[in-house]
């Protein structure tokens, strides 16, 4: 039987998803349901003096109106930060309380203050308009860079500082810098992004008054984790009385990791009003209240020798957490960012210092790549600038500093098990026709255009994560994953996983893995996920972990199935276990060629008896009936995808328009289970990264109003913003898991922003501009370039 792992199997879920047969939270309706509408703060920062619900309560169709008072009385817990980060001085991070409904203070535009439940959505909305809130408006703290200099927005959190974190050795860095021929410096802004999942957040809650069980249907990347948090910290219900179901989820990019206010509020309220509740975010609510991504202000330096060797690196960053610290909010700018900031290079000394600040803006959390795009942008801007200032070819300077031996002990935290950065970059150069660039540049110039080329080499740490490591770094949970593989009596297989697809194609790729392990046809396998009542516990999908952690749990559970199957087959075939080989779904006696298929064995496991007079069980002595196995996998290390991307852009100096002419990506994701799915992930990631580099920006005005709160102003990239992506792969297997896989979900978004910006800056003759490189910024840079060029001439 040909191996399914590695083949371009078309996505099983697409028939459902592309023909409108997907089942999303908004598709779920419960008889007698009420509709929720939230009253949200119109102010970035205000004291809540009084909330008057009397008019709303009298409005047509209104069932109930609840406020922060009630939720506090019922002792429902607030939203949490999932990682405890310590400051350089050893002190604990400072985290403000984040009640689901704000009672005393509103801290960002869109923060929920009250909620109305009514018979229809229109009635709920109309009544929400009647809730009158008396605010004392205060001056907000909006800007990342100014936060530490401004008035504290949370009581007891001095300078708005959550922590001042250090990773690395300042002294060693100073010594290295003292030896340098040159110090390369950059000042960077990593622009804040709105995740923009296609499906807005939603929840439907059904409380059963008899069993006292709450069923929450929600748009979550990690339903099990949501249940744990809501139960342990929210106190909404004990875990056994809370079922969390995330049906089809239409994109998340990190924004659906968090348990949000609305889910906690509706779950609590459903019990209170004894009615089911439905809530679907409007697109504006998504813009205002989904966790945002990035938002760093960075100063970084690279110490180099004249011949291009890197000696030391330092990174001083202010990271904006928004108004509150959320699940991955505090770790994203520290352990997911700092270690990767030295990139794919051997740099003897380095440190990353990050100050995380609170502001009166939407909370910031993990967003595709989470910390690693920011890290890669920092180091790859520095490296490109070093090449430019030293007059060394940008690819040569990279090759010169790549590690050549693996495992590669990276400067700050990670030991990278495998990789081959040189081959990746060489392949990318070939595919991009790097050497032919100068000719293309001349051609563009003859048409009055500016052309630039940019490279970025990256690695990232994903497959999160070894529990012992992450818990020692402050994580509140272990990041293992589990799976249950259930062979049904009649031969089909259900694969339960704690990971949860929100677009990644798990229905297909996980089935491929199981099919190979068990030797059964793909069609007989169903992947089941997204329901805490179905299958074992799990941590969900983010940090490119589903395959590298969740997939391995599946493999291991399948191996247990085969092991048991072998014991049973041996009994059935009346031989010793070691005389049997398992291959292509058959247990074969090597000597005699007698065999049983895995289906026959499964059947026997469930029907351990016969109608013969003599009792003859196929099960060996002491073997339990059934064929169901569970496995928990806790990886020994992160996995480390890596690669090199090369982009070419063409700029019209008159209009400032930037066109991406060519984009080449060569990635090493270890073994690839399904190239079709992987290419899709890379395409999406690159598109998102180009979005960040050229188009997307989240702008608050000085009062904290979100100016880019709709698609009329927030520039989502579109298909016509992209060239055809030219993809290539190299392969070194991960050694930390038996499949040798590394994870591919975030790489595109990690590598592409610096690739594009390096190309833009190259076209602009080295003038630095910030992301997104919009037409006006580029036009201004072109004007300057013209001036300097004419002066030089």
């Amino acid at each position: 039987m040909a191996s399914l792992v590695g083949s371009r199997v078309e996505r099983k879920e697409d028939k459902r998803l592309l023909t409108g047969k997907g089942r999303y939270t908004a598709d779920i309706n419960i008889a007698n349901q009420t509709y929720a509408a939230f009253v949200r703060s119109p102010h970035a920062r205000a004291k809540i003096k009084k909330v008057d619900t009397s008019k709303a309560l009298k409005a047509s169709g209104v069932v109930s109106v609840l406020t922060g008072e009630e939720i506090a009385t019922d002792k429902i817990g607030g939203l949490i930060a999932g990682w405890a980060i310590r400051s350089e001085d050893g002190s604990e991070m400072k985290v403000p309380a984040n009640p689901p409904l704000a009672k005393d203070n509103a801290n960002f535009v869109g923060e929920p203050i009250a909620v109305v439940f009514a018979e229809t959505l229109d009635e709920a909305r109309a009544a929400a308009d009647l809730v009158s809130v008396d605010y004392k408006v205060l001056k907000g703290v909006i800007n990342t860079g100014d936060a530490m200099k401004s008035e504290a927005i949370h009581d007891g959190i001095d300078k708005n500082l959550c922590y001042d974190w250090l990773l690395g050795d300042r002294k060693a860095v100073e010594e290295a810098f003292a030896k340098a021929d040159k110090i390369i410096k950059v000042d960077l802004i990593n622009n804040r992004l709105v995740p923009n999942a296609m499906e807005p957040r939603a929840c439907v809650v059904d409380y059963n008054t008899a069993s006292e069980e709450i069923t929450l249907y929600t748009t979550s990347q990690n339903p099990h984790l949501s249940r744990l948090i809501m139960s342990a910290f929210g106190g909404v219900a004990p875990e056994n009385k809370l079922r969390v179901v995330a049906p089809d989820v239409g994109g998340g990019f990190g924004s659906k990791i968090n348990v949000y206010n609305e889910e906690i509020i509706c779950s609590w309220a459903s019990k209170k009003i004894e009615r089911p509740i439905k809530w679907i975010a409007e697109r504006t609510e998504s813009f205002l209240t989904d966790t945002h991504g990035r938002d760093h202000v960075t100063h970084a330096e690279l110490a180099v020798t004249n011949d291009g060797k890197f000696l030391g690196f330092k990174n001083e960053t202010i990271a904006n957490l928004g108004a509150y610290a959320r699940v991955f909010g505090t770790v994203t700018p520290t352990y997911l960012f700092g270690p990767c900031a030295t990139g794919v290079y051997t740099i003897p000394a380095a440190y990353s210092n990050v100050k995380a600040v609170y502001t009166n803006t939407a909370p910031v959390d993990a967003y595709r790549g989470a910390g690693r795009p920011e890290a890669t942008y920092t180091i790859e801007r520095l490296v490109e600038k070093a090449a430019m200032e030293l007059g060394i070819d940008r690819t040569e300077i990279r090759m010169k500093n790549f590690p050549t031996e693996f495992p590669f002990k990276q400067t700050l935290v990670h030991t990278v098990d495998s990789g081959d950065y040189v081959s990746g970059l060489k392949k990318a150069k070939e595919m991009a026709d790097y050497d032919g660039f100068e000719a293309r540049r001349k051609k563009s110039e003859s048409n009055g255009k500016l052309r630039g080329i940019g490279v970025s080499s990256y690695f990232e740490a994903c497959g999160i994560a070894p529990s012992a490591v992450v818990m020692s770094l402050g994580c509140g949970v272990g990041l293992w994953e589990s799976s249950e593989v259930r062979f049904n009596p009649t031969g089909q297989v259900s694969v339960f996983t704690g990971a949860h697809s929100h677009g990644q194609g798990h229905d297909t790729t996980f089935a491929q893995i199981a099919a190979d392990e068990l030797g059964v046809p793909l069609e007989t396998i169903d992947v089941v996920h997204g329901d805490t009542d179905k299958g074992t516990f799990g941590m969900g999908t983010y940090g490119s972990r589903s395959l590298a952690v969740g997939g391995i749990a599946i493999v291991n559970a399948c191996k247990k199935i085969v092991a048991k199957g072998k014991r049973v087959a041996a009994k059935m075939l009346e031989v010793n276990e070691d005389e049997i080989d398992f291959k292509d779904g058959e247990f074969v006696v090597t000597k005699s060629n007698k065999k049983k298929t895995i289906g026959e064995v499964a059947f026997a496991c469930y029907l351990p008896g016969s109608r013969d007079s003599e009792f003859k069980s196929p099960l060996p002595e002491g073997e339990e009936p059934g064929l169901i196995e569970t496995s928990f996998f806790d990886p020994a290390n992160f996995s480390f995808p890596a690669g090199s991307h090369i982009a070419e852009v063409e700029i019209d100096p008159e209009t400032g328009e930037v066109k991406v002419e060519k984009y080449t990506a060569v990635d090493d994701f270890g073994r690839i289970v399904n190239p079709l799915v992987v290419e899709g992930q890379v395409h999406g990631g690159i598109a998102q990264g180009i979005g960040q580099a050229l188009h997307e920006n989240t702008e608050y005005d000085e009062t904290g109003q979100l100016i880019t709160a709709s698609y009329m102003d927030y520039t989502m990239p579109r298909a016509d913003n992209f060239p055809e992506f030219n993809l290539g792969f190299t392969c070194t297997h991960a050694t930390s898991n038996p499949l040798g896989v590394k994870g591919c979900g975030e790489a595109g978004a990690i590598a592409s922003p610096p690739t594009i910006m390096n190309a833009v800056i190259d076209a602009l003759g080295g003038q630095e501009i910030s992301m997104p490189a919009t037409a006006e910024k580029v036009w201004r840079a072109c004007k300057l370039l013209k001036k300097t060029n004419s002066k030089a001439a």
Partner: protein
């Protein structure tokens, strides 16, 4: 969205009878529906004019192209007659928003709305259009009054827009990267006796740049407008483009338009 009465009149007479101070005509709904949804506008009566046959269609005579008010952008963009008579008008329609917007949005709705960054108003100005309503004919130069303001009286219905066929013309647009409306749009039309340079997106409402029009009337070449500095003080400034950038774009696209003619 607040509730409203929905009407589908069969003819213009019935439509205008239904109109009141708290009604709105509904054409493509690309502007009116979102603004109702967001609570920016509320009406008691919505008068859907899409079912009035007479209001849709394209007629070309020797001198003019007349487009019915409810003709969709996609139909103008793909019309063989329009492409032949005034290719730049078809190009303009084909560059509006995105496919979804073009499949519903209409020329009547576009000019009745007079969004400062809409494309059609510039075509009307440059092509000396005449706006036919159920009561009268209005010259384009008297139709667009200011930001979202037109000469239309309450309840007055646009029936068709008549564009004068120029000798040569071209439309150049710098799209807003998010909405794809015009940050700046320059419609250049060379008529027998004059050249019109109409600009949209740059100021509070569409306008004819007299200076550029005059220079190009005397010499129709991009060098004729080389070195001109446009005053940016009245230009729009927002997160996507400052007034200074817009001023530069007007000139850049005016030159591109001349070169493309």
């Amino acid at each position: 969205m607040k509730t409203f009465n929905y009407h589908t009149p069969k003819d213009v007479k019935e439509a205008s009878k239904l109109a009141s101070s708290s009604s709105a005509f509904l054409a493509g709904g690309m502007t009116s529906v979102p603004s109702m949804k967001l609570g920016l506008a509320t009406y008691k009566d919505i008068i859907d004019i899409k079912h009035i046959k007479k209001l849709s269609g394209i007629k070309v005579s020797g001198k003019s192209v007349t487009i019915g008010a409810t003709t969709k952008h996609v139909d103008v963009a793909t019309s063989k007659e329009v492409k032949k008579a005034i290719p730049s008008l078809a190009k303009l329609a084909g560059g509006i928003g995105d496919a979804q917007v073009r499949n519903r949005g209409t020329v009547g709705g576009s000019i009745a709305n007079n969004d400062p960054s809409a494309c059609y108003p510039s075509a009307c100005m440059a092509l000396n259009a005449i706006i036919h309503t159920n009561n009268r004919k209005i010259e384009a130069s008297k139709f667009f009054k200011g930001m979202f303001e037109t000469a239309l009286k309450k309840g007055e219905l646009i029936e068709a827009v008549e564009f004068q066929i120029p000798e040569k013309s071209n439309y150049q647009k710098h799209p807003n990267p998010a909405s794809r409306y015009a940050i700046v749009g320059v419609y250049l039309a060379k008529h027998k006796k004059e050249v019109n340079v109409a600009v949209t997106g740059a100021k509070s409402s569409v306008y004819i740049d007299k200076d550029l029009s005059k220079k190009l009337s005397s010499s129709f070449s991009s060098s004729a407008i080389d070195g001109i500095e446009l005053d940016s003080s009245e230009m729009n400034s927002d997160i996507h483009a400052s007034g200074e950038f817009r001023a530069s774009l007007v000139l850049t696209y005016a030159k591109k338009a001349v070169e493309a003619c």
